[in-house]
Symmetry: C2
Subunit: 218 residues, 2 copies
Amino acid sequence: MHTLSEENYLKCIYCLWQDKGQKITPTAIAESLGNNPASVVDMIRKLTDKQLINYDKKKGVELTAQGQKDATLIVRRHRLWEVFLLEKLDYDWDEIHDIAEELEHIKDASLADRLDKFLGFPEYDPHGDPIPKANGKMAKRYSTTLADLKTGGYCRVAAVKDTTSSFLQYLQKLDISIGTKIQLIEKIPFDNSLVISIGGNGRTTVSQKFGESVLIDI
Amino acid sequence: MHTLSEENYLKCIYCLWQDKGQKITPTAIAESLGNNPASVVDMIRKLTDKQLINYDKKKGVELTAQGQKDATLIVRRHRLWEVFLLEKLDYDWDEIHDIAEELEHIKDASLADRLDKFLGFPEYDPHGDPIPKANGKMAKRYSTTLADLKTGGYCRVAAVKDTTSSFLQYLQKLDISIGTKIQLIEKIPFDNSLVISIGGNGRTTVSQKFGESVLIDI
DNA sequence: AAATAAAATTAGTCTTGACTAATTTTATTT
DNA sequence: AAATAAAATTAGTCAAGACTAATTTTATTT
Ligand SMILES: [Mn+2]
Ligand SMILES: [Mn+2]
Ligand SMILES: [Mn+2]
Ligand SMILES: [Mn+2]
């Protein structure tokens, strides 16, 4: 089995890979985990020895088949626990991520499957991220962001790219959650700010950064 | 906040204190945790520095008010998670302890209280141990064992003193669970074996060690 | 009271997973 | 192509929490 740290690295590598499909460098991992690149290099060696990743200066870090499988299970547990915390324990949207960050490491062969069943086999977590099934497959991941929407276009908020509580609290304040309908009224050329109409109500202006953090379904 | 190890030591000291009321020595702690006494001495220093325990060669280890409070919360979380695993996730009696051993360390200020509410404020865990309330109070702990019962006497199984799966599986095999009625038919003087009638059925013989591991309500 | 056994403690080692500082390698500019 | 900047790596350090082996203290026998 893997240590807590190894698991966090595995999940991080998996998420970077899903997010961007770009080359995964030690610096990228370090930044994402808030660690020093030197520490990342150490862990790259450990995970390589355990045959969970391959590292090539050209291609960057890549998960092996086993590494992918293990990382997927950690993500599955994380997202299932998030559903549990929100639906069963009435936590708020912005509180669940950090707790799931710990719960995802609980080791028991049947825990994820039992939790999955108990929750009614949810397809998506509360942030709109697909929950890997026991067999590793999962529903569609959304990749278009609000910033990609054409002026005048309508969309449905499908997921959020950022799970920090500052972002999620801002969304709550704007009355935006998964499923909310949004229309892009205008894009300000100066700084790419977006003027939007939330759920058919009046206009609100949001930043480019904001737009790029909201994943949509057109 | 405390580290995982510190929490395990705190809980261990708390449980030893509850169990026997005897002097808690480094050796006793070492034995209970499966650690080396030298390691225990190290941790005693750490917990003393953190003002969670006091150590006196004469009186042994004692929890301070703060240590007691913190230990109680860990025990509360442990027992609540056990109820959750058994009742909601359909785990077996003998599987829950080890998983709760990990879950008890999840740190979130409101998690125990939310879980408590979700479970309907249970008074006892699946092994019959009382669950500390948010305020630290808890229901009665049973202390009489089956081995203390008078010949001919009847009792109700209230709790188990041992949570190893070998013991719990044996109980299941004998069809004994919390609430089962037992009559002590005979005590064998040679080795204190107990001849009992389980739930009004035929006789079964069990060892002294067995009898001392079953807590009863007369 | 000595001798012996058991318990507690100290000293030193190891592993994990972080860090900093220094160096080397690779990329980007000029 | 040389200079510069950025990224990666190496070397060495540290704290936590375990261990073993040696020693000291306390209890128990004889
Ligand atoms: Mn985590
Ligand atoms: Mn999520
Ligand atoms: Mn534990
Ligand atoms: Mn229990």
